[in-house]
């Protein structure tokens, strides 16, 4: 199996008035193709910082994050934008849908930016994603007209617009009730079954068991890396 994400000796420090604070402390791991990885940890443990590094949103202080063999810390903003559009789909806790666009238009937007899918095929692709996520009935609704769960589904649909092989999600269920959260996790599991590589930060210790592999972060350090019973590869 190939390893689309490789994290090597990753460190991140923040300068504060109180001095240098370590957010990530020499973390190394890799993610296999089609894996569904859950990252857990207490508030302030560094898991969101880690996921920002994987999405190219933040740059490491030292160490390296490599996505499909390309080192993110060596890429400029435009290259990172291209990476996020084509290879990595990102899902946030607060959905971050553009409030002025409908669900359909939100999904069309990344296709529009990347231009990889021919213009004539974009609508078809958008509906394909909508059907996959089962929110086709809400295509022409504005985000504000949808429940939190539906908004998160729309955000996932948007992340899938350009059919990226990797989905990175930062607390995607953190703002949802338990029923909606379960549906979202099932959706990620389904995507994983469709060979998408998924890396997800979550607080939910129950639902995270649906992932194939769980990384636990504490005080910026990776303290455990275990495979769950859903794992296709068994214990790490």
């Amino acid at each position: 199996m190939t390893e689309p994400i490789i994290v090597t000796d990753l460190c991140k420090y923040f300068e504060t008035k109180a001095g240098k604070v370590s957010a990530l402390d020499h973390i190394s791991f890799s993610v296999q193709d089609g894996d569904f990885v859950g990252i857990v940890g207490k508030s302030g443990s560094g898991k969101s910082t880690l996921i920002n590094m994987l999405a190219g949103i933040d740059k490491p202080s030292s160490g390296s994050v490599s996505v499909f063999g390309r080192k993110l810390e060596e890429m400029n903003e435009n290259q990172l934008a291209l990476l996020r559009g084509l290879d990595v789909g990102i899902v946030f806790q607060f959905f971050q849908l553009l409030p002025v666009l409908t669900v359909l238009e939100n999904i069309l937007l990344p296709m529009d930016f990347l231009g990889r899918i021919p213009e004539k095929e974009r609508m078809e692709r958008a509906y394909e994603v909508l059907r996959m996520i089962e929110i086709q009935d809400y295509a022409n609704k504005l985000p504000s007209e949808l429940s939190g769960g539906l908004q998160q589904k729309a955000a996932i649909a948007r992340a899938l617009a350009n059919d990226p092989p990797i989905i990175i999600a930062d607390e995607p269920t953190g703002n949802l009730d338990s029923a909606a959260a379960e549906k979202i996790f099932l959706l990620f599991e389904e995507l994983s079954n469709k060979a998408k590589t998924i890396v997800m930060v979550t607080h939910d210790s129950e639902l995270v068991r649906m992932a194939h592999r769980i990384l636990t972060i504490r005080d910026g350090a990776l303290i455990s890396d275990e495979r769950t019973d859903r794992s296709r590869g068994g214990e790490a």
């Binding site: 920002n52 903003e77 990102i90 946030f92 409030p99 666009l101 930016f113 992340a159």
Partner: protein, 798 residues
């Protein structure tokens, strides 16, 4: 439509008040620039072209009687393009309320007026017998209207009734005697057949000549004038006065230049104001868009794509602003041109669309907002996703510096919080203060310039401090007039002044312009001159003379201590005078004026102690009605005694007329001040909206810990008022240099010298009130938005 463009369109639509604010910011600048530039281009060209098209005379000879044979001869002289003879006389006519007013009556033989064409604005032309045309500029002074009767009093006192058949524009008013339209008498035009009835010269007394070549060169005109004067003298004509004028020198060109100068200064400032305003407002919009920019970046949007999107949004704002700014600026400029044309006597020649203005508006409208937007857009597009998703919460400093900490010790905690907020985003504060302070400085400076103008009007009034100015047709001894008027109890005393015309003789011995000579008695309390160089004459001094600013302008080589030669009309004697001073009066267009001691005048006038000008002073300052009654009484008594008068003028009317041109400047400055105040208000609204938007979380926290709607609103309003107050302080300081630039520009154009900088607390006080009121108004909408936010909404986004 692609989703990204749809987003831009929706952004535009979804927040109409913010879109309106940006459009308004751009609109105000484009409108002001369009209007100012139209006026700046049109006014001087209207004056120049309009005047040139009237085939203006380059040389005016006031001669003893002549007939058409002289005109035919003159037309054959070298370099003469056109010549025209007319009969001109100063008479009096009754206005609508029965008061006698000085009028200049003119008649020519040719109805077409080959020289100094007139424009018939209303009524019929050519005039029939018993009909008159009145120059439009002063038609109102006669309370005249088309079809009304105009009763003219002839030299012998006979009254002749004429029907006002036309209202005309004569742009050459003042051109023949180096004067300006404001202080010219009412102009009445009749046909040749009316001369006898009006007891005027039936032959011509004014010869106007247009040169073929050299009409734009004052030296060339002067040379031809001297040459022609010699010829006329050799032919036996008595040359009473000579005036020359360039073909493009409209008599009120100085005022147009002053207006153009003011427009230029304000135009440049407005471009800066509009640019900074647009920058501030666009920063506000971009700041509001940060999360969305972050979201777009996460789905693959590049820097260039985001920049291009928002630049296109700015383009939409610009286009809408242009659509409204272009026609409205044309309309406003037309209104101003109409107003100025009527008030400084020029025709609006340039018609149709002025493409250069539209081109500048297009360039400014499309380029300036893009430049102003480039910084916030680029900053917004460059911001990291993390920061963008955080809603740019960390913009600006905490405001926790020494100054703000000390404020906390002086003011209550909520007030101190408002103050800290004010200083949080220092760059935005600086821009807002720049916009508002500059606006305020122009506003305050406008009042100060108006005060300078008012002070100058007061200076004019100091030359004519008596209540009535009586000019008789022939000289009388002072005692004769005093005796004649002794029964009028309201009269306190009468002072006799020497008064007459003289011809300036230049260094080469050639005749120059006609000089109006005034000669007050020693120690006269009725004049208090404004000497700008040298000094005024002392009692008992002889052979000394003080000259008006017009001499400085026309003969810059003349200095205090130089000798001046002149020939008093009708005496044939050339006399030499020592120039001891130059004074400022009604501006460099105000004619060649000279003051000398009365005793000197009595020696050279040929009339001894008999005078033609009498200054009448009443016991108390009479009101309007009393002044009119006294004037009428004086006229009646002098009529009874057979003392023929040329004019009895109320000096307050003279001052008001002389100040007319300056008052137009005042009105103009006020229009500009209001425009600038409007720009400042829009600027503050944008800043306050942005400040509230950025502090959404803080407002939520305030509400969560018990702040009432009133507390939140007070917090926002206090900040707005604080900015308003700071802008007032800076504006008050800046008003000094801005006022100086405007006053200098006005002074050099109208007076050929600097005006003293005026000062009035009115501008400062009014702008303080206005800036505080505007601050409250500008902060009110953002404060309401802040109050409307629920704690859940506010804190949810964090």
């Amino acid at each position: 439509m692609r989703p990204r463009w749809k987003k831009i369109f929706y952004d535009f639509r979804s927040n109409p008040s913010r879109s309106l604010l940006v459009i308004l910011s751009i609109f105000v600048g484009l409108f002001a620039v369009g209007m100012i530039m139209t006026l700046w281009i049109c006014i001087p060209s209207d004056l120049r072209l309009g005047y040139e098209q009237s085939n203006p005379a380059n040389i005016y000879f006031r001669l003893s009687s002549f007939d058409n044979s002289l005109i035919r001869s003159v037309q054959k002289w070298e370099n003469v393009k056109d010549a025209m003879g007319s009969s001109v006389a100063t008479l009096r006519a009754y206005d609508g309320s029965g008061k006698l007013k000085k009028v200049t009556v003119q008649a020519v033989s040719d109805d077409a007026w080959p020289v100094n064409h007139i424009d018939v604005l209303q009524g019929s032309w050519p005039l029939k017998d018993n009909e008159a045309a009145v120059e439009n500029y002063k038609l109102g002074d006669l309370d005249g209207a088309m079809g009304k009767t105009l009763t003219v009093k002839t030299a012998s006192g006979k009254e002749v009734s004429l029907t006002i058949a036309a209202s005309i524009r004569d742009q050459s008013l003042g051109a023949g005697d180096y004067s300006i339209v404001f202080i010219e008498p009412i102009q009445v035009y009749v046909n040749e057949n009316m001369l006898r009835r009006l007891e005027m010269d039936t032959q011509w007394n004014m010869l106007r000549i247009v040169l073929k070549n050299g009409g734009f060169d004052e030296n060339a005109i002067r040379e031809y004038a001297n040459d022609y004067a010699d010829r006329l003298k050799k032919a036996g004509y008595q040359v009473q006065s000579i005036a020359i004028r360039r073909s493009d020198a409209h008599p009120t060109a100085d005022y147009a230049d002053a207006i153009a100068g003011i427009l230029l200064v304000i135009g440049v400032l407005v471009v800066f104001l509009s640019g900074s305003l647009t920058y501030n407002t666009l920063t506000a919009i971009l700041s509001n868009q940060m999360r969305q920019i972050g979201a777009m970046k996460t789905v693959g949007a590049t820097y260039a794509q985001i920049v291009f999107m928002y630049m296109r949004l700015i383009l939409i704002y610009s286009l809408i602003a242009l659509i409204f700014a272009v026609p409205s600026s044309i309309g406003a400029a037309e209104l101003c041109r109409g107003f100025l044309g009527k008030n400084i006597n020029f025709a609006n020649i340039r018609t149709g669309i002025i493409w250069e203005v539209i081109l500048v508006q297009l360039v400014l409208g499309l380029v300036v907002p893009q430049i102003a937007g480039a910084i916030p857009v680029s900053k917004g597009a460059r911001v990291s996703i993390q920061k963008a998703m955080g809603g740019m919460r960390n913009t600006g400093s905490s405001g926790n510096d020494r100054f703000t900490r000390s404020m906390s010790k002086i003011f209550s905690r909520p007030t101190a919080l408002s103050m800290r907020n004010t200083f949080r985003s220092k760059s935005r504060l600086v821009l807002t203060l720049f916009t508002l302070s500059l606006g305020g400085s122009i506003f305050i400076a406008s009042f100060n310039v108006n005060t300078a103008i008012d002070e100058h009007v007061a200076v004019i009034a100091r030359y004519v401090q008596a209540d009535l100015d009586l000019v008789t047709e022939r000289p009388y001894r002072l005692e004769q007039i005093q005796t004649a008027l002794q029964d009028i109890s309201e009269i306190d005393y009468i002072e006799g002044w020497g008064f007459g015309s003289a011809t300036y003789i230049d260094a080469d011995g050639n005749d120059g312009p006609s000089i109006s000579v005034f000669a007050p008695p020693d120690g006269s309390a009725l004049i208090s001159p404004n000497v700008k160089e040298g000094r005024w004459f002392e009692p008992g001094e002889q052979h000394v003379i003080c000259l008006s600013e017009r001499f400085n302008y026309t003969y810059p080589d003349l200095k205090v201590g130089d000798k001046l030669t002149m020939e008093v009309k009708g005496t044939g004697n050339k006399t030499e005078w020592t120039i001891i001073g130059f004074f400022t009066m009604a501006g460099k267009s105000g004619g060649f004026l000279a003051y000398m001691p009365r005793s000197s005048w009595e020696r050279i006038s040929g009339a001894g102690n008999r005078l033609t000008k009498f200054q009448i002073v009443t016991h108390t300052r009479p009101d309007e009605a009393q002044r009119a009654a006294i004037t009428k009484n004086v006229e009646d008594i002098l009529d009874e005694r057979g003392i023929k008068t040329t004019s009895i003028q109320r000096n307050d009317t003279f001052v008001a007329d002389a100040a007319r041109g300056l008052n137009i400047m005042s009105i103009f400055m006020m229009i500009m001040a209001v425009l600038v105040a409007l720009v400042g208000c829009i600027g503050l609204t944008g800043t306050m909206s942005l400040n509230v938007m950025e502090r959404t979380a803080e407002i939520g926290i305030l509400r969560a810990i018990g702040a009432s709607n009133r507390n939140v609103m007070k917090n926002v309003l206090t900040e707005g008022v604080l900015i308003g107050f700071m802008s007032w302080v800076i504006g008050a300081v800046l008003s000094v240099p801005v006022g100086k630039v405007l006053t200098d520009s006005l002074g050099s154009a109208v007076f050929g010298s600097r005006l003293l900088l005026g000062f009035t607390p009115v501008g400062y006080g009014l702008w303080l009130v206005l800036s505080l009121v505007l601050s409250v108004i500008a902060s009110h909408a953002p404060a309401r938005t802040a109050v409307a936010l629920t704690i859940r909404e506010v804190l949810a986004v964090e």
